[in-house]
């Protein structure tokens, strides 16, 4: 189908973009990669009166380490993350995940920040943001907000972002002494995840788990941090039985949907199996 009519603004800088959003009071949409927004417009699920295109803005496409964080700016494409920006585990995790985000043409246009703004619960980046406690930096004419990922995802395709705000950058903590695992099940290469899991883990000198994070995609209406499951492992030795208990707890605590692709029971099963495998991968690398 064809989108309904809209006005188009090729923003020259971020202030012009923010001004246009403020002026249009909820009727405008921000265009970055457009790989989710434009399909929604073609279906007329989204009917903005103004499209504010960020692409002409020159200085929004950087990925760099700043202190203890990896900073990803608004126009960083999925494909830009396929090669790690530095040698830290966060960059390497992103490179591993990036290759499974959509198909090649989608990866070459779609953006990391746009994926978070779209908030598809099956999206890999939303899960990674939840796992790492990313900070989403949102600007408007009213000022700049730093929103923790734990407060960002409100529901299906719904976030804490206000209509006049633009995500200018996302800040991910560098995994210093932690290792990670990432697992995904999808119907075909490049398809949305049916379920995906990411685990990060650091093990202390005494062989006990100092910190563990486990996040899930495709398991609920938002990305999920499996907090109770995580708590079962902190301070414990990562034995096979302990990891199995963590994965089981993660599956017990989610309430996934049934849809055309698979049943809720199958999704819950995937949560358990893929959580276990991500934890195994993380701990295999940690030890």
């Amino acid at each position: 189908m064809k989108p309904s009519s809209f006005e188009y603004l090729a923003a020259r800088d971020i202030d012009e973009a923010l001004g246009a959003l403020a002026e249009h009071d909820g009727e405008a949409k921000v265009l970055a990669g457009g790989q989710s927004l434009v399909p929604a417009m073609n279906f007329r699920l989204a009917t903005p009166s103004l499209l504010v295109d960020l692409n002409p803005i020159g200085d929004l496409a950087g990925v760099e380490v700043s202190g203890d964080e990896l900073v990803i700016q608004a126009l960083v494409r999925h494909v830009d993350l396929e090669v790690p920006a530095s040698t830290d585990a966060t960059s390497i995790l992103l490179a591993r995940v990036a290759r499974l985000v959509g198909h090649l043409p989608i990866r070459m246009r779609g953006t990391f920040a746009g994926s978070l703004a779209h908030a598809d619960p099956a999206a890999e980046w939303c899960m990674v943001a939840a796992a790492l406690d990313a900070t989403i930096v949102a600007r408007s004419l009213r000022g700049t907000r730093r929103i923790p990922a734990s407060e960002f995802f409100d529901g299906l395709f719904t976030t804490a972002l206000e209509a006049d705000e633009i995500i200018t950058e996302v800040r991910l903590p560098l995994l210093r002494n932690a290792s990670f695992g990432f697992r995904e099940k999808s119907q075909t290469a490049g398809d949305f995840a049916t379920v995906a899991t990411v685990a990060t883990c650091s093990v202390g000198d005494a062989g006990v788990v100092a910190d563990v994070r486990l996040a899930l995609a495709g398991a609920a209406s938002t990305p999920v941090r499996a907090k109770r499951a995580e708590s079962l492992l902190v301070g414990k030795e990562p034995t096979p039985d302990a990891l199995a208990a963590v994965a089981r707890a993660a599956a017990e605590d989610v309430d996934p949907i049934s849809d055309a692709n698979c049943s809720a029971d199958y999704r819950r099963h995937l949560v358990e199996v893929l959580s276990r495998r991500a934890l195994d991968d993380a701990l295999g690398a940690a030890s």
Partner: protein, 162 residues
């Protein structure tokens, strides 16, 4: 209406389009380049794939107004002096099409992917091809065409390097 200058297959075109005009519709309706096919119009089938600055792009997910100043290549711009592009030739040699509707999209996808990086193994080619749909389900021969094209483009690149 908005003025836009599209550079398509090396020729510059000044157009007046509505902002909602997708690149695919501008190519087909305003420029008469019907080789770019439209299947789903929501980014799933890949039939409308063209190159924008060399990158394979779903032309139904980009608006023409976004493409001012970009280099666009469509299936019509691949052959030069009557010689088919190696990817086009590989599709003929391997019977990589049946009805042909998906073919321009598959070819542009592969041209973009292989010209950026000709050194791709079979698994990578399969992953790339998963981007597009062929409803005749001729995937096996499309994969064979992709493999031949990768070999041909590698040897062409090696010759140029010498």
């Amino acid at each position: 209406m908005t003025s836009v200058t599209l550079e398509v297959n090396g020729r510059s075109h000044d157009l007046e389009v509505e902002p909602r005009r997708t690149l695919a519709d501008a190519l087909r309706e305003d420029l008469g380049l019907h080789g770019t096919h439209l299947g789903c119009e929501h980014g799933v089938c890949g039939a409308c794939t063209v190159l924008v600055n060399g990158a394979p792009t779903r032309a139904c997910l980009v608006f023409a107004v976004q493409c001012s100043g970009s280099r666009i290549t469509t299936i019509e711009g691949l052959a030069s002096d009557g010689t088919l592009h190696p990817v086009q030739q590989a599709f003929i040699d391997n019977f990589g099409l049946q009805c042909g509707f998906c073919t321009p999209g598959f070819i542009m996808l592969l041209v973009g992917a292989l010209e950026a990086k000709p050194d791709r193994n079979d698994d990578e080619l399969i992953e790339i091809l998963a981007s597009n749909l062929c409803r005749c389900t001729g995937y096996r021969s499309i994969l064979e065409a992709a493999k031949q094209a990768a070999v041909d483009l590698r040897s062409a690149a090696a010759k140029t390097a010498k």
